[in-house]
C-alpha cells in the first residue's frame, strides 16, 4: 500500500467485508464473502432468492453477527453486535418489513429511537426532521399517523428516521418490491439526492432494469458466494443474468415423456389486484395439460401465490377473467371463477402450497398426522360422529409410502422436521387423487434425498395423467423436471419455454426483465398517479385529518 502510514481523512471505502461467513444451522447463507462499499456510491447488491443478499447486509446492520471474517468501517475494524452499534458507525438499514408504530405520528416514530441523553422535545425533533425532508426533497407529512400512510410514505419515513440519526450509509432491502412505478421513480430521485449529499447507498434487488438505472456499481451474489462487482456502465443485462444464475448444473431427475396429454385448465385474461389496488397479475393466459408438469419460474413475489390461489378459488379476480376446467370423467367444462374453494377441490383441483413458515397454510401444527388428514375429509359420511378410521389409515399409508419419520400418528406435526411436514402436506393432496395438482415450493428447505422423493412423487402423478403445476425457485430443478416452463415476472407471463430445450440464461433473463421499463413509462405519469390517488390508505388519511 502506497498510503500506508499516511492519515487519509476520507477513506475510499465506507465498508469493507473480509471473508465473511454466516451459517444458519446446516444452511450456509454467506460463504467467504469479501467485497466493499465505496464512499458516496450507489451499489446494487444483486442475486436470486436465497443468494444471501439480505443476510450479508444484516451483518453490517447489526442484526446478525458473522461466524467468521471481519467488517471494516471507514478503514477500521468494527464489531457490530446490535443495530445500535451500526447506528453509532453511521450505518442504517431499511428492512422490507417496516419497523414503525402505527398509531404514532411520523415525528413520534422518529423520536422513539433517539438517544436518551438528548432532551425530549417533539417540536425540536419535528423541526430537524423537516429540515431533512427539505434537503432531500422528501414528500412527508410529519404529523400524519403511520396507519394512514401509503407504503411509499412509510418507506420515506423509514429513510428519514435513518438519516435523522446521522447515517452516512443506507442499506435498502428490496425497496421497490411494494411500490408502484410512480413511487419507484420518486424513490430513485430520493436515492440520487442522498448520493448528492455524500451518502453511500446499497440497494438489495433482483430487478435488472433497476440496477441498470440507478446504481454506480453492481455486486453479485449467487448461492451465498460472492461472484464479483462490476461498474454499471460495463454491465449488460445478459452479463448480469449470467453472473446471477451461473452455469447449468446437471441434475439426475427423471423426466418421462408426456403421454396422452389432455387439456385440463385453460386460463384466460386473468387479472388480480392486491389490497392496495396494485396489479399483481396482469392478463395471464395459459393452458395446463394432464400428463405433463408445467413449471412456473420467477423470483418469488411475482404473482405465483396469487396465480395458484386464483385457480384454487382463494383469490378475488378482476372481471373478464376465465379459468376453464376440464374434468377427467366427463365432457362438461367447468368455469372455476365464482366457485367456492370447496367446490373446486371436490372437482379435483388441489393445491399444496408450502409457505415460508411451512405450517402456515394447510396443516394445523398442534394436531397429529391423522387429524390433519381429517381436515379434508371431516364432511364425508352421514353419521354425526367423525370417521376417524379412514384418516388414520390414510395417514399410515402416507407414513409408510413416503417414509415420514414421526414418533406416532398423534404427534403434533409441528414437532416433525421440515421435510416430513412437507411430505405430509404433499402426500395428503396426492392421496385424494387430484386431476390438477398444484404445488408451490414443495422442496423449500429440504435436503437432496427428500427433494428427490418429492420429484418422484410428482412424476408418478404426471404418469397417471394428472396435470401438475410446479412452482419452484431452483432453476436447475425446473429445467430438469418440467416439460414446459412458464416464467412470471412482475405479474406477467414473460414466456413459456420447452423445458427440454430452454437454457438457464433464457429463463434467468425472462425472470428479471420487467416488460415495462422505467424509462418507457415516462409518459404514463397520469395513469400511475391516478392509481396512487385511489389508494384506500390515502382516503383514510384524509378522513383522519377531517376528524381532527
Amino acid at each position: 500500500m502506497v498510503n500506508e502510514g499516511v492519515k487519509i481523512m476520507v477513506h475510499p471505502h465506507s465498508v469493507e467485508l473480509k471473508h465473511i461467513t454466516k451459517t444458519f444451522g446446516s444452511v450456509v447463507a454467506n460463504d467467504d464473502v469479501s467485497m466493499n462499499i465505496r464512499e458516496g456510491e450507489i451499489l446494487s447488491l444483486l442475486g436470486e432468492n436465497g443468494s444471501g443478499k439480505t443476510s450479508l447486509m444484516n451483518m453490517i446492520a447489526g442484526i446478525y453477527y458473522p461466524d467468521a471474517g471481519e467488517i471494516k468501517v471507514h478503514g477500521k475494524v468494527a464489531e457490530i453486535r446490535s443495530p445500535k452499534d451500526a447506528f453509532d458507525l453511521g450505518i442504517g438499514m431499511i428492512h422490507q418489513h417496516f419497523k414503525l408504530v402505527d398509531v404514532f405520528t411520523a415525528t413520534e416514530n422518529i423520536a422513539l429511537g433517539l438517544n436518551e441523553s438528548e432532551k425530549f422535545d417533539l417540536k425540536e425533533v419535528r423541526k430537524k426532521a423537516e429540515e431533512i425532508c427539505k434537503t432531500y426533497e422528501f414528500d412527508l407529512d410529519l404529523d400524519q399517523k403511520v396507519y394512514s400512510m401509503s407504503v411509499s410514505q412509510k418507506q420515506t419515513l423509514e429513510i428519514v428516521k435513518v438519516l435523522y440519526r446521522g447515517a452516512s450509509l443506507l442499506i435498502l432491502d428490496e425497496p421497490t418490491a411494494v411500490l408502484t412505478l410512480q413511487e419507484i421513480k420518486k424513490l430513485f430521485n430520493v436515492i440520487r439526492a442522498m448520493k448528492k449529499n455524500g451518502k453511500s447507498v446499497v440497494i438489495i434487488t433482483h430487478k435488472l432494469n433497476e440496477v441498470m438505472e440507478i446504481s454506480d456499481r453492481v455486486a453479485v451474489l449467487r448461492k451465498g458466494k460472492y461472484i464479483g462487482t462490476i461498474h454499471t456502465y460495463e454491465a449488460s443485462e445478459s452479463l448480469l443474468t449470467e453472473m446471477m444464475v451461473g452455469q447449468k448444473v446437471e441434475l439426475n431427475i427423471d423426466r418421462p415423456t408426456p403421454k396422452n396429454i389432455v387439456k385440463r385448465l385453460e386460463i384466460k385474461h386473468l387479472n388480480v389486484k392486491n389490497i392496495y389496488g396494485l396489479e399483481v397479475l396482469k392478463d395471464i393466459n395459459f393452458d395446463a395439460y394432464g400428463g405433463e408438469i408445467l413449471g412456473i419460474a420467477g423470483v418469488s413475489g411475482n404473482g405465483q401465490k396469487e396465480l395458484l390461489e386464483a385457480i384454487a378459488g382463494l383469490q378475488v379476480t378482476e372481471p373478464g377473467a376465465s379459468i376453464t376446467y376440464y374434468p377427467q370423467n366427463s365432457d362438461d367444462k367447468m368455469e372455476i371463477i365464482g366457485k367456492t374453494p370447496k367446490a373446486i377441490r371436490n372437482a379435483g383441483v388441489h393445491l399444496s402450497f408450502v409457505p415460508e413458515d411451512r405450517l402456515g397454510m394447510g396443516l394445523v401444527g398442534s394436531m397429529g398426522m391423522s387429524d390433519n388428514m381429517m381436515l379434508k375429509s371431516y364432511e364425508n359420511g352421514h353419521s354425526i360422529f367423525l370417521d376417524r378410521k379412514a384418516p388414520k389409515e390414510l395417514a399410515n399409508e402416507i407414513k409408510d409410502e413416503l417414509g415420514v419419520v414421526t414418533p406416532g400418528l398423534q404427534t403434533p406435526v409441528s414437532r416433525l422436521s421440515g421435510g416430513n411436514v412437507q411430505k405430509v402436506l404433499v402426500g395428503r393432496e396426492i392421496a385424494l387423487s387430484p386431476t390438477v395438482l398444484m404445488t408451490a415450493y414443495a422442496v423449500r428447505g429440504l435436503d437432496i434425498n427428500t427433494s428427490y422423493t418429492i420429484y418422484h412423487l410428482l412424476n408418478e402423478q404426471k404418469e397417471k395423467g394428472v396435470a401438475v403445476i410446479y412452482v419452484g425457485e431452483d432453476l436447475d430443478v425446473l429445467l430438469a423436471l418440467c416439460d414446459r416452463i412458464m416464467v412470471l415476472c412482475g405479474g406477467q407471463v414473460n414466456g413459456i419455454l420447452d423445458g427440454r430445450t430452454a437454457t438457464k440464461e433464457e429463463v434467468g433473463r425472462l425472470m428479471t426483465s420487467h416488460v415495462t421499463n422505467l424509462e418507457e413509462t415516462a409518459g404514463e405519469d397520469d395513469v400511475d398517479s391516478e392509481i396512487y390517488q385511489t389508494e384506500p390508505s390515502k382516503a383514510a388519511a384524509e378522513e383522519v385529518k377531517a376528524n381532527e
Binding site: K84, K99, L100, V101, V103, E108, L112, G113, V544, N547
Partner: protein, 329 residues
Amino acid sequence: MQAIIAWIMRAVPFGTIIMYGAMGETVTEKSGNLNLGVPGIMYLGGFAGFASAFIYENNAKNPNGFVCLILSLVCCILASMLGGLIYGFLTISLRANQNVTGLALTTFGMGVANFFGLFLLQGKSYTAAPLANSIYSAKIPGLSGLGAFGNIFFSYGFLAYLAIVVAVILHRFFNKTRTGLKLRAVGENPATADASGVNVTKYKYLATCVGAGISGIGGLYYVLDYNNGIWATTGQIEALGWLALALVIFATWKPLNIIWGAYLFGVLYWLYQYLPSVLGITTAVYVSDLISMLPYGVTSIVRIITRMKKKRENQPPASLGLAYFREER
C-alpha cells in the same frame, strides 16, 4: 334536590374506587399486558392497607394518624405490586397465557385476603380501624361546610382528589414524555420498540407492577374510606374490580376519560337507589339489579361504537394480550 346531592355524594367515592383500578390497569395495558387480575389486586391492596392500619392502631401505645396513613398506604401499594409482579413473572418471563393468569390472580387475591382476614376478624362478622378511617375520610376544613356546593365538591377524603391528580399526571406521562412514548410503543409494537433500543421486558415489568400499585389503592380507598374502615368478608371489591376493567375500555385507554367515566359509572350504579326518589316513584326490587347493570351495558355500547367508527386512536394497544418473543420477528 336533596336527593340529587346525596346521589352525587355517593357516586363520587364510588367512582374514585374504580378510577384507581382503571388507571392502574391502563398503565399495565399500555405495555401490552392485559391483567384481568385487577379485582384480586384491589383485594390484596385493600386488605394489606387495612391489616397494617388495624394492627398498628391496636398495638401502638399512642397511635399517630400520620404514621397510620403512611404505613397503610405503603403496605397497600407493596402488596398490590407483589400481585403485579406475580402476574408479570408468569406472563412476561414464562409467557403464560395472560387471560388465564389474570383470572387466576383474581381468585388468588380474593382468597389470600379473605383467608388472612379471618385472623383479624377473630370470629366477629366485622372489625374496624377507626383511626385510619378518620384520616382517610378527613374532609377539607372550612370548604366542606359550604352547603350544597361544599357537599358536592369538598366532602370527600384526600384520595378522591389524588385520583384526579394521578389521572392528569398519567395523561401527561403517556403523551409528553420519552418514557411514555416508549411504553406506548411497547404495547403497540414490541418488535419495533425492541429495534429502537427499548428494553421491552423491563418496560412490561415496570408498567405491570406500577399499574398494580395504582389499582391497589382503589381497594384501600374502598375499605378505609368508602366502607368506613370496616373489614368484613364481602365480595363487593371484586364487583368493583370488574367495573374498573370495563371502565378502561369505556375510557378508550385514555386517563382523562377515566375521570368523568368513573363518576358516570358511579351515577349509573346508584341510579336504582336515587332515581325513584328523585322522580318520586317506587320500583320493584328486581329492577334495581337490572339498573346496576347499566355501567356494563354502557361500556358494551361504547365498544360497539368505537369499533364501528374504526378510529385507530380509540382501539386497544395493538399487541394487548400477546407475549413478546424476540425470535419471532
